[in-house]
């Protein structure tokens, strides 16, 4: 009788070696410097690329198989959501503001990350990081696509979704995430990995995704929630890539430490400024709230951040330079940003509203030392204007920060009654900043930031020359997508359709 012979299964380590490390070759007729011209211009010294470890050991063949099944499951749920009028299951149409902001601000960022990782996957000289970056590049474009698809169903029924790509390039608040990603993409390969792979994917990702995805779950949005699960299964790999990169740089040469520190200082601050939009979303835009921005920061910022920087201290890395300023701002930022978005609501591709009585109670409870004292009076002023038949708008244009591109609406870290303004003169021009953090980032690389495209000057330049109606057309903003929620088509339609469904 024949003895059945089972072929020996390759173990994971062996398979990984064959499918990644073993795919590399020694160049014979071109030298390494010509092939990888960008690896040393940032000053990072690498002595041994083989020390780059990839604990995931995922090979391309297995990668496709996983992602294909994720896609199948994801689209089955998206289809069901569309066929069963899933959009009417959300708490109410105010929730749409949160996902409009996500689609306009974050999904294009996923696409930028896709392009960035494709680029650095080519620019790094080691095969380990090359393969890991290629996979992340494909993940990121998948995330951008699946987010757009998840939200495309809402576009059939509601305003403000249809032209997110144009708005990403032209409208004002979207220039905040846009400038963040443009800054990263125009940096060298190692800085890009610190910016996106480390600061964004590791230090800040929980502060971004957990609020949005739990917000989706709490508010009945199955489509977005499913996207969240599908993406989260990639996130651990992304975080690992960022962490491995930073360990690799710090271990390869002691001269790398000050360079890495500078990048951590910069990207932590830039990330925190970007997250102020998420803070406003969490505290003001969800009809059913998950937790306050302060609570999220305490868990994901303070607790996890402290654990990380305790470990990084072993390499001689200290916590990010402006950490204390961020901590001082946490009880203020969401209110300051939301008051800004509300007063400029004629220029946002989403609706906003003044907090209801129950919102006010919640905000008082979550921000006992700041909300009632500093921000409630301003909301009460806006509410009184409405009740008198008016509308609280600010047609004056804000001064934007040259670095983060948010309006200069934040207060001094130690005085919440004093607006913070900083300015730096560079080659005869004056540049404005919202904070010490942003001014510091500018002053490290002024040649880079003087080139920044700012949305407010675009309104004043030819051909628009300050014509607000022409600007709205140029940024693809229909009046129905902007303004007060109470008067919106979205509200009226949602309530009408929901009633039809429930009386069927």
């Amino acid at each position: 009788m024949d003895i059945k012979k089972t072929p020996k299964k390759l173990n994971v380590k062996e398979k990984y070696r064959l499918m990644t490390r073993d795919l590399a070759w020694e160049p014979s007729y071109r030298d390494e410097k010509e092939i990888y011209p960008y690896v040393d211009y940032e000053g990072i010294k690498v002595h041994d690329w083989s020390k780059w470890e990839d604990p995931f050991r995922l090979t391309m063949d297995a990668y496709w198989k996983y992602q294909a099944e994720k896609e199948r499951k994801y689209y089955a749920i998206i289809d069901a959501h569309a066929q069963n009028n899933g959009h009417l299951n959300v708490t109410d149409a105010r929730y749409l503001t949160a996902i409009k902001l996500f689609l306009q601000g974050i999904s294009p960022g996923e696409y930028s990350a896709h392009r960035g990782f494709a680029r650095v996957g080519r620019e790094f000289a080691g095969v380990g990081p090359q393969v890991a970056c290629q996979m992340q590049s494909i993940d990121e474009i998948r995330h951008a696509q699946t987010q757009v698809h998840a939200m495309s169903n809402y576009n059939k029924f509601y305003n403000g979704f249809k032209d997110f790509a144009t708005q990403r390039d032209r409208i004002w608040y979207t220039s905040v995430p846009r400038s963040f990603f443009d800054d990263a993409m125009s940096a060298g390969p190692f800085e890009f990995l610190i910016a996106i792979g480390f600061s964004f994917e590791y230090v800040l990702t929980n502060l971004l995704f957990v609020p949005f995805m739990s917000g989706a779950a709490y508010n009945g949005d199955m489509a977005t929630c499913t996207f969240g699960f599908s993406a989260q299964s990639d996130e651990a790999r992304h975080m690992t890539l960022g962490l491995e990169c930073i360990k690799f740089m710090l271990e390869q040469d002691p001269d790398n430490i000050p360079i890495v520190q500078k990048w951590i200082d910069k990207w932590f601050w830039r990330g925190c400024r970007l997250l102020t939009l998420v803070a406003a979303m969490m505290d003001y835009m969800l009809p059913k709230r998950v937790m306050s921005w302060r609570e999220a920061w305490n868990i994901y910022g303070v607790e996890n951040g402290n654990a990380l920087f305790r470990d990084l201290a072993r390499y001689g890395i200290r916590p990010p330079m402006h950490w204390d300023d961020v901590e001082k701002s946490i009880d203020h930022t969401s209110h300051q940003i939301m008051l800004g978005l509300y007063q400029w609501k004629f220029g946002t591709a989403f609706h906003s509203w003044t907090p209801t009585d129950s919102d006010i109670e919640w905000l008082k409870e979550k921000y006992p030392t700041t909300f009632e004292k500093y921000y409630l009076p301003r909301w009460e002023y806006a509410i009184a204007q409405k009740e008198a038949g008016g509308e609280y708008n600010n047609f004056g244009l804000p001064k934007l920060c040259q670095t983060c591109q948010l309006p200069c609406l934040f207060t001094e870290p130690d005085d919440p009654t004093q607006l913070a303004h900083r300015e730096t003169e560079y080659e005869g021009e004056k540049y404005h900043f919202c904070s010490d953090g942003c001014q510091h980032v500018f002053e490290q690389e002024p040649e880079k930031y003087i080139q920044a495209w700012l949305p407010m000057p675009a309104l004043m330049q030819a051909p628009l020359k300050g014509d607000l109606a022409a600007w709205m057309e140029w940024v693809s903003l229909e009046p129905t997508a902007a303004g007060e929620y109470a008067n919106s088509e979205d509200k009226a339609n949602f309530e009408k359709w929901r009633k039809q469904v429930s009386t069927d």
Binding site: V12, K13, P55, R57, K65, Y66, E69, K70, K73, Y74, F229, S230, Q232, S233, E235, A236, M239, T240, L243, K247, E251, P254, E303, N304, N306, A307, L308, R310, D311, L312, A313, R314, Y315, G316
Partner: protein, 353 residues
């Protein structure tokens, strides 16, 4: 009821309680399995089930695919055994691990000696003529009577002396187990233990110079490891940086002085953190990490470091080693992840230190 789970490629078997996850049980047993989110979403802890049945618990259908469930994979952070299991995890196979099986041993207390005012040497003669096979650096679980339970102690003697092992035990203030050993245990008593346990042993295959850093009652494993290396004829540079508070706590000081005399590749650096006005003391004054920094001029690269002692000492030594360009892959600590540690917020930057 509990199940036995054998973890390949280590070949080590652990017990998993009812409703306990595989990950939790492995971490508590001191076996590191890769993990991150701990609630079934990220798939970092994916493992193969080679034999037996598991309940997948909360594993997300996006983190553990249907085809993977068909291939008998599971997420260790959610999976609960429904039978005895054999699993395979992505653990580096360690060429220096002999993967010795754990066994129960009956023995007699053959000798008790005061090593310092707070540390006793306890010698246990094993009844079984074959004695115990262990790797220098490993520990045993000593079973204590009167429902005290078992306590873990590193073996201070060398593997060659397999018939009688030596333990060095410090009296822990308020500790029931060590109080029993110090106050009640007598020569001639019958006692039992199980072992050997632990993955703290010399990475001989690396063939690199070694630094041992020991403090408090953490000398046992390094002593066993160093004496074995020297007696085997190892010619690589070996350094022991050994710290205590005072001279009278510095047990086995004379033995190490004699070894340094006999073996030219062995350097002994004793340090007292509280030398007081001990005019006789000629050694280092300060903590272990400070003495090591001076001895190596702040550059530890090209070595393997083995750390054993109280948590604060280990932490200070790791900082000093890393600032001296020696990183995780070359640092080994005797470490037991307690339930409290497993729940503490940790960054995923380091896995083994």
């Amino acid at each position: 009821m509990s199940f036995e789970v054998t973890i390949e490629p280590l070949g080590q078997t652990i017990e998993v309680e009812e409703d306990q996850t595989i990950l939790d049980a492995a971490l508590r047993a001191g076996i590191y399995l890769p993990h991150a989110c701990c609630h079934g979403l990220c798939a970092t802890c994916k493992i193969d089930v080679l034999d037996g049945e598991v309940d997948h618990g909360e594993a997300s259908s996006f983190a553990l695919m249907d085809f993977e469930r068909d291939e008998n994979k599971c997420l260790a952070c959610c999976a609960i055994p429904e039978s005895d299991l054999v699993i395979e995890a992505e653990i580096e196979e360690d060429p220096d691990s002999r993967n010795l099986p754990v066994q129960d041993y009956q023995c007699t207390v053959s000798r008790i000696e005061d090593l310092t005012p707070t540390i006793k040497g306890i010698w246990l003669k094993i009844e079984d003529a074959e004695g115990i096979d262990f790797q220098a650096g490993q520990y045993i679980n000593l079973n204590l009577p009167d429902d005290i339970g078992s306590r873990a102690f590193s073996i201070a003697s060398i593997p060659e002396q397999s018939g009688e092992i030596e333990l060095n035990i410090r009296k822990v203030p308020g500790g029931v187990g060590t109080a029993y050993i110090h106050d009640e245990l007598k020569e001639g008593d019958a006692i039992s233990f199980s072992g050997p346990y632990g993955r703290f042993f010399v990475k001989k295959s690396a063939d690199m110079p070694m630094i041992f850093m020991a403090g408090g009652s953490g000398l046992s494993s390094p002593r066993s490891m160093i004496v074995e290396l020297l007696e085997e004829g190892c010619e690589l540079p070996i350094t022991l940086v050994y710290g205590q508070r005072t001279r009278e706590e510095l047990y086995y000081h004379d033995e190490f002085l004699a070894l340094a005399e006999k073996y030219s590749n062995f350097t002994y650096i004793p340090a007292l953190s509280d030398a007081g006005d001990d005019g006789e003391w000629k050694g280092e004054v300060g903590f272990v990490h400070e003495a090591a920094q001076r001895a190596f001029n702040g550059d530890f690269s090209g070595n393997k470091a083995y750390l054993c002692g109280p948590p604060l000492m280990i932490d200070a030594c790791i900082n000093t080693l890393m600032q001296g360009r020696l990183f995780e892959r070359d640092i080994y600590t005797e470490k037991f992840i307690s339930a409290a540690d497993a729940q503490q917020v940790r960054s995923p930057l380091f896995k083994n230190i």
